[in-house]
Amino acid sequence: MAERSFAREVEKLKLGDGETFHGEGILAITKALLQSGVGYVAGYQGSPISHLMDVLADSREILDELGVHFESSASEAAAAATLSASVMYPVRGAVTWKSTAGTNVASDALTNLSSGGVVGGSLIILGEDFGEGSSIAQERSHAFAMKSQMWLLDPRPNLPSIVKAVEDGFDLSEASSTPVMLQVRIRACHVHGQFTTKANRRPEFTLRQALEQPKRDVSRIVLPPASMLQDKEKHELRWPAAVKFIHDRKLNEFFGPDDVDVGIMVQGGIYNSLIRSLQFLGLADSYGNSRIPIYVMNVTYPLVDDEVAKFCATKRAVLMVEEGSPEYLEQIINTILRRRDINTRIFGKDVLPRSGDYGAAVVTKGIEAFLEASAKDLLRNRPPMPSADKVLAEPKIADLAKTLPPRPPGFCTGCPERPIFAGMKLVEKELGQHHVSADIGCHLFSILPPFYIGATTMGYGLGPASASAFNVPSSKRAISVMGDGGFWHNGLSTSVGNAVFNKQDQVIIVVDNFYSSATGGQDIPSSRAENDRRSTNNSIVDAVKGIGVKWVRHIDRTYDVAKVRDTLKEALTTEETGPKVIVASSECMLNRQRREKPLFNKAVKAGKRMVRRRFGVDEDVCTGDHACIRLSGCPSLSVKHTDDPLKDHPVAAIDNSCVGCGNCGEVSEAAVLCPSFYRADIISNPTRWDQLVAGVRRAVISFFQNRREANRVVFP
């Protein structure tokens, strides 16, 4: 994280006993790790857990003082493998990533980790990217817990509960020799709240001790016959130990009265939505006092059979509020009850939706249907439900669906990826449309307006790999796009190495913007910034050549649209066999501005000669055809209506947020668009020489201008 400071957040990590923390959920988790005596933390950045990684990366002082090792892993697989430090040594470790995307990548290591088991508390913090606003496929991390027999915590979404879950998680892990996953949904990661802090704790056992007194135990290694015994151990020892711990420590919670014969079971993370729903139905107040018994599962795997049975046995019907599909909890609860011949009717996905996140609106409908069928009297005198149905049915509101333009995400102002796709668009105009395999990262915005480039996306660093099948004789080659983030995560071997080995005839574009930008601008091996804790400045071009690519071109300034166009054309038409790799490099503008803007302003204030560039449009030259916008989509390039009665359509206009990246000029040059664009170089604190030259130029130019204007016969 070269370009952004998290100094304010770091201060919050220093809070001691009995102080009050105010801030985001994910930062509270970070603090909780330090309070729990964690020995090492690793992870791979991504929404919604980037903040944990970013803040720790800036917390060198605290980490050094506590003796905590922190690592930005190359991928989630690397992060998960890091936990093997806790297999033999009683050192607490935590890893984090976005789930399920990252859990998929990490699965290999997690399988082996959970089979052998751990002695040091091992916590896997999952940013559950599910529901509205999610950027990945909608799946449940729950499945990973079940298949590998790892425990899954899903605490109530308030800071004290989340912090407690971190502390309990380590204890649970150690009590049952099993890694524990802590699932936190997007909104809970970003929730602002408060909790009372404890002082940070040094790890009781250090990694240094481990290295200096190494231990090994072949029964912890996944190889027969040990792996068979591990399977037995999981079910006969670790599972019962976990259930006992969860029960004894009361990790799950019971709320509400004892004497009502219906009840609700809920995942901890959905508790707040449930309370709001009960409130809407007149069955709870704003402080969680409910008229219906509630069993909150802060641990959703494994279940405590006795608790479930006890809760259900005294009730006619119970509703399981469980977000996402399939309904694993509902199924296991039915199994538990059948085995004990308890005939409580279980409601769940029959009254609740199978997909989408569970806000109060959908949960309320589910509870209503559940109570209608099982305890109608509780719904007496229900207050009018909040609803927008009536107003949404009004034609003038409903029509907004047709008139309001969507606002899809796009490239930032000055983004260096824009000219790459502008160049691709120009090639498309010449050579026709090609199959383009896209990847994960900011560059995926190319699939949206105004570029409409990219057909599939299969995973991080898998863009070129997903074009593998197209290695057949054809008049057109497949193109794939991959970012530098994806390249180092997985792409070098899985995509590029694979393409070399199989002599794939495709064109691979590696978008190198010096950061893992989409996740917040973290450093990666090819970052250009000097970072004394990481090795940066490792060349992608060298890596690609090293793995065996023969045809490599490096574009070291992506804003050169003509070069992008010509290089891509060459790659698509060359006789050369095997993969053709184009590495297109320019720094992420968001991060560049973060670094340069303050320096620039400081220099101007100090009286230094500085030149700021921005673009503009001559509105009397612009004819309003907007061809430039179709090759750009830059937020600072917009349209404006003129007062000229002879112009029917709005002209292009550039606002002051322009950072002068050069794309507009390059595109109008390369695409032969129009001469409306100008670049203004504004010189602050000009030197005397500057002023002298400018004075002479102005004098000559004004002379000719005045001469012509004196002779012009025009209306005022």
């Binding site: 606003g133 909104r187 809970a188 929730v191 602002h192 707040n272 309370i275 709001r276 107040d285 704003s286 402080y287 996140d357 806000g359 109060a360 207050p383 439900m385 107003v391 509101i397 907004l400 309001l404 333009p405 606002r407 899809p408 995400p409 490239f411 930032c412 900011c442 915005f445 307006p449 105004p450 989409a518 030259v621 004819t623 309003g624 916008i629 390039l637 917009s638 209506h641 007062d643 000229d644 009665p645 002879l646 359509h649 709005p650 000029g665 040059e669 032969v672 668009l673 129009c674 001469p675 100008y678 203004a680 170089d681 010189i683 000009p686 500057d690 000559v700 130019i701 004004s702 209306f715």
Partner: protein
């Protein structure tokens, strides 16, 4: 706002949180605003919870920040929702007008509960900007909706206020929220968070105050249309040759078209010379003679369309015109203002020009240019020499003089190839209008308006021209058909719907089959 903070169930009154949603786009500071609001509530002893889903939307898309606030009871914190519920939001703050519209479409704004505080400025979406024509939506559709959806609406341009103060819209919006009086917190509490940690500049406070006072006494918002400046015909401008033009307009044309003709002669004397403006008037006059509605109809008449589009067509964009506009003294002053140059700064401009052989040939004497165009090999060879992007620094003497000399070709423009081609094109077009005006007046008006499609430079110009030609080609087919002008208008709209003309080709097929099918049956 008696509903805020309370709800009544079965006759009992419960405390109910105040619910608030902020809708903002990436870079507008929606997160900062949400943090400020939470801080205000917390400092007033309330319990506040906020959350959001930035995700990929943090780049340029829209994000909803959702906040709930309620004091603790007997030391017990409230249980607050992380997700807004439709119909249960007290206050919606929207940092842009389409986002305000979206909040209504999402059901966050309901007439029984919600106060909508929104900035009326527009940040156009890519889909609005990228169309070859005008894709900007009408803000009135959103304004009309606020009247139905919101219990109370406070609407004004918060972006402009923020810019005037040299600050960000988030500060104006916090001021608007404070000024609205919707939250039970005093103004000082808001001022404290915005200035509390000494980060606040005077600019932030100015922006806050601007929002505060506007929201305290809100003025009903009226959407300003895109007004075209139609100067009325002056009696005299004191230059005899120009006054002749004015007199001719007054003498030969009905008053309804005077303003548009004045705009036309203004443009054309500036573009070429007085004689050229007379040529223009003659062309319009020919159509005016055939126009029975010239004096009674306003902007719908054939003469009005002729006055507008003939002026546009005659002032085609050639290299001379571009060089002329780029070397004027008034230009630098205008750009100074646009880019916000201060008086102690210097500024140099770089133009991005890409002349092709087509443009060079067009600037040659007609016979020579046509001869070169007739020799493809020679043309291509020459094109290789000239067809290159050129960065022209108009602030330096050399490049200024280059453009200045190009623009000095103006007196001989009439003899150049491009001019000859344009005049032919104009003549053919006007002939079509002449031919159909007898049988279908409305169709003739529409033929003139089709000229809209010809715009841009180079390839874009060629594409526009080819769309125009396609429409002209279908006019004879449309003559005598019911609603012919309507069809031609729909085709023109289709032509502006995309760049490649796919929508247009589809529509032309529809028109042809619509009228041919019955005959074939």
């Amino acid at each position: 706002m008696s509903s805020v903070g309370q709800m009544t169930v079965n006759g009992e009154t419960f405390e109910r949180p105040i619910t608030l949603a902020v809708l903002a786009m990436g870079g507008q500071g929606g997160g900062v605003l949400a943090d400020w609001i939470i801080e205000v509530a917390e400092e007033q002893g309330w319990y506040a919870q906020g959350s959001s889903v930035p995700g990929v939307a943090q780049r340029t898309g829209a994000t909803v920040y959702y906040i709930e606030m309620l004091p603790a009871r007997d030391g017990k914190p409230p249980v607050l929702s992380l997700i807004p519920t439709r119909g249960d939001v007290d206050i919606v703050l929207a940092a842009e007008f389409v986002e305000a519209g979206r909040s209504m479409l999402q059901g966050l704004v309901t007439p029984d509960r919600t106060a909508l505080i929104a900035s009326t400025h527009r940040v156009f979406a890519v889909l609005e900007k990228q169309l070859p024509g005008d894709g900007v939506i009408d803000s009135n559709t959103i304004l009309d909706a606020t009247g139905i959806a919101a219990k109370k609406a406070i609407l004004f341009d918060m972006q402009a206020l923020a810019e005037r103060a040299g600050s960000h819209i988030s500060a104006t919006m916090l001021g608007a929220l404070a000024g609205s009086g919707l939250l039970p917190f005093p103004k000082e509490a808001f001022l404290h968070v915005i200035g509390g940690d000494h980060r606040a500049s005077q600019a932030n406070l100015d922006a806050f105050e601007g929002g505060y006072s506007q929201a305290k006494e809100p003025i009903p918002y009226v959407v300003e249309g895109h007004v075209k400046t139609m100067a009325s015909l002056p009696a005299s401008v004191g230059v005899p040759v120009l006054d002749d033009l004015l007199q001719r307009i007054r003498r030969d044309f009905p008053e309804a078209v005077h303003s548009m003709l004045y705009a036309g002669v203004k443009r054309l004397t500036d573009y070429q010379d007085v004689a050229y403006a007379h040529e223009y008037l003659s062309r319009v006059a020919k159509l005016c003679e055939l126009d029975p509605h010239a004096s009674e109809w306003q902007q719908e008449s054939l003469t009005f369309a002729a006055a507008k589009y003939i002026a546009v067509a005659m002032s085609y964009d050639d290299v001379i015109r571009v060089a002329d506009l780029k070397t004027r003294s008034t230009r630098v002053g205008r750009i100074d203002r646009e880019v916000g140059k201060k008086s102690d700064q210097l500024m140099y401009l770089t133009e991005f020009m890409h002349p092709r052989m087509e443009e060079i040939a067009g600037t040659m004497p007609a016979a020579l240019g046509a001869w070169i165009e007739s020799k493809p090999k020679l043309f291509q060879w020459l094109d290789k020499l000239v067809n290159r992007g050129r960065r022209v620094q108009t602030g330096t003497v050399f490049w200024f003089m280059t453009l200045y000399l190009v623009s000095a070709l103006k007196p001989i423009r009439r003899r150049l190839l491009r001019h000859r081609n344009e005049q032919l094109h104009i003549a053919n077009w006007l002939q079509v209008a002449h031919d159909v005006v007898w049988t279908d007046y409305d169709l003739a008006v529409e033929v003139l308006a089709t000229r809209q499609l010809v715009k841009g430079y180079s390839d874009t110009h060629a594409r526009g021209n080819s769309k125009f030609d396609k429409l002209m080609a279908i006019v004879p087919f449309l003559v005598g058909k019911p609603d012919a002008s309507g069809w031609l208008r729909r085709l023109r709209t289709a032509a502006l719907a995309d760049e490649d003309g796919k929508a247009l080709d589809g529509s032309i097929l529809t028109v042809r089959t619509a009228f041919e099918a019955p005959q074939g049956a």
